[in-house]
Amino acid sequence: MADYSIPADLMEALKNKFPGLEIQENRDVIVPAADLIPFMSEIKDNQDYAMDFLTNLTGADYKDRFEMVYNLVSMTHGYTLMVKVRIEDKEKPEIPSLCPIWGGANWQEREIYDLMGIVFTGYTGHPTRIFLDDNFQGHPLRKDFQWQGGREA
């Protein structure tokens, strides 16, 4: 498969603009939650990257942390980038919402809140459930979610 990730020099430019950045060997980027919004608006507005298409936005529930995963694509240059953000606080997971930057994040964030329980701050209309009833107890995709399936023993 051809390599569509951001070339090394542009990655270095990002590195020194955001010291907290951590670049993994397969060019995924781990961004501290604090400067998620500046980082995202930087790679969207700066024409070198022009990451204007948010393909995927999802979350994962690990033992010690939550992890948000964003996949971005640049329509003009054809770069793809996977951005990860770690949320250490398991009791009240919160992360700034990307809706002001990409409209496509709206429904995906509501889905992650509904199923995973991660609250997205800084956008009216969040956090509201999208699939389950409002009086549904708990968030199903969490590892500690207990439920009673329909299979008769």
Binding site: L54, A60, F145
Partner: protein, 364 residues
């Protein structure tokens, strides 16, 4: 004289919502003031169920998401597992995947065309498209044994080889396909009532389309050239030449027209794939119990509704730790609320039909 607005349910049980999807319309007379889509009536929690299944057992869940294009759903998931495990799929299996994937795309577009004709009122169109879809489904049934929920793909290849009588039947179907598409053009696209109802209705500008992460015919209807098979060719698509039809002014009519164009292109792709298919094995060397290394992977495929991605996290056990499906119908609907404002009720049904959603995929 001030008129009050009233709320109306374009509800879960409605002939035109392609399943159980609800839009709460705030109406002033006929004009929509505010639209609030309410999905979730078919939410079966596939992502949670997948965490309790082994990697191969998840495959039947994928083609119950977008049940109109089952093969493409299998492809997206299987490609993510192969990327995670670094498996190289043999040549013949890749060509078989392209053939059945494009056949599944044709079957899906046929329903989309017929259903959209039905939404606008041309009920006979549905009969024509379904009559032709049966031929397409015969081919897929010959290959996989099932009509809709194929579960034909395996990690590292496909379940079994193309039967002998598949090739003449496929060539005959491909010979008839352009005739079928002309028939739909003549029957629906050329109908001026249809054009009056869909031209310049629900216009999506390219910038808004990209900003709202739309994909597939919904985005290409606005002229944005983003087709994964061309932008980031996976499998053997780089060896097949075909054009990507684009719309000009992003209205319902363009989204509908390029679906029929895409069917013609699919015919060309299958033709070339049938000519170039090599001999060889159809399944890579894969361990009996699939235990991918610890890590995660994200892979995307161009399904009939848009970009269908799968994000997999593995913790080394035979069961995936986390599976997330990037479902095009779900994300394409994110823009519906803004798109419907200002249009009349009949146009809302035209817009919803043109985005072509499948509820199994929206609610996952």
């Amino acid at each position: 004289m001030k008129t009050q607005t009233y709320s109306l349910n374009l509800g879960p049980q409605h002939p035109s919502t392609h399943g159980v999807f609800r839009i709460i319309l705030e109406l002033d007379g006929e004009t929509v003031v505010k639209a609030t889509p309410v999905p979730g009536y078919l939410h079966r929690g596939i992502e949670k169920l997948a965490e309790a299944r082994t990697y191969t057992q998840v495959i039947p869940y994928t083609d119950r998401m977008d049940y109109l294009a089952g093969m493409l759903m299998n492809w997206g998931y299987v490609q993510a597992v192969e990327k995670l495990m670094g498996i190289e799929v043999p040549e013949r299996a890749e060509y078989i995947r392209v053939i059945v994937g494009e056949l599944s795309r044709i079957a899906s577009h046929m329903i989309a065309t017929g259903a959209y004709g039905g939404d606008i009122g041309a009920l006979t169109a549905f009969t024509y498209t379904f009559r032709d879809r049966e031929y397409c489904i015969d081919l897929l049934e010959m290959v996989s044994g099932s009509r809709m929920t194929f579960s034909y793909f395996r990690v590292g290849g496909v379940a079994d080889d193309l039967p002998g009588e598949f090739y003449p039947a496929a060539r005959k179907f491909l010979a008839d396909l352009p005739g079928m598409c002309d028939e739909y053009d003549g029957l629906i696209t050329g109908n001026e009532i249809f054009q009056a109802r869909t031209k310049h209705v629900g216009v999506i500008t390219p910038e808004m389309g990209i900003n709202y992460s739309l994909s597939g015919p919904t985005l290409r209807g606005s002229g944005v050239n983003y087709d994964l098979r061309k932008v980031r060719p996976y499998s053997v698509y780089d060896r097949l030449n075909f054009e990507v039809p684009l719309g000009k002014n992003g209205d319902c009519f363009d989204r509908f027209r390029i679906r029929i164009e895409e069917m013609r292109q699919c015919g060309k792709i299958i033709q070339q794939a049938l000519d170039q298919i090599p001999e060889g094995s159809i399944q890579a060397k894969v361990p009996k119990v699939i235990k991918p290394p610890v890590g995660d992977a994200y892979a995307e495929v161009e399904s009939s509704k848009g970009v269908y991605g799968c994000y997999l996290v593995s913790d080394g056990s035979p069961k995936p730790y986390r599976v997330h499906f990037r479902r095009p119908s779900f994300i394409n609907l994110g823009y519906l609320a803004k798109l419907c404002e200002g249009w009349k009720i009949a146009d809302v049904i035209a817009i919803l039909g043109s985005i072509d959603i499948v509820l199994g995929e929206v609610d996952c």
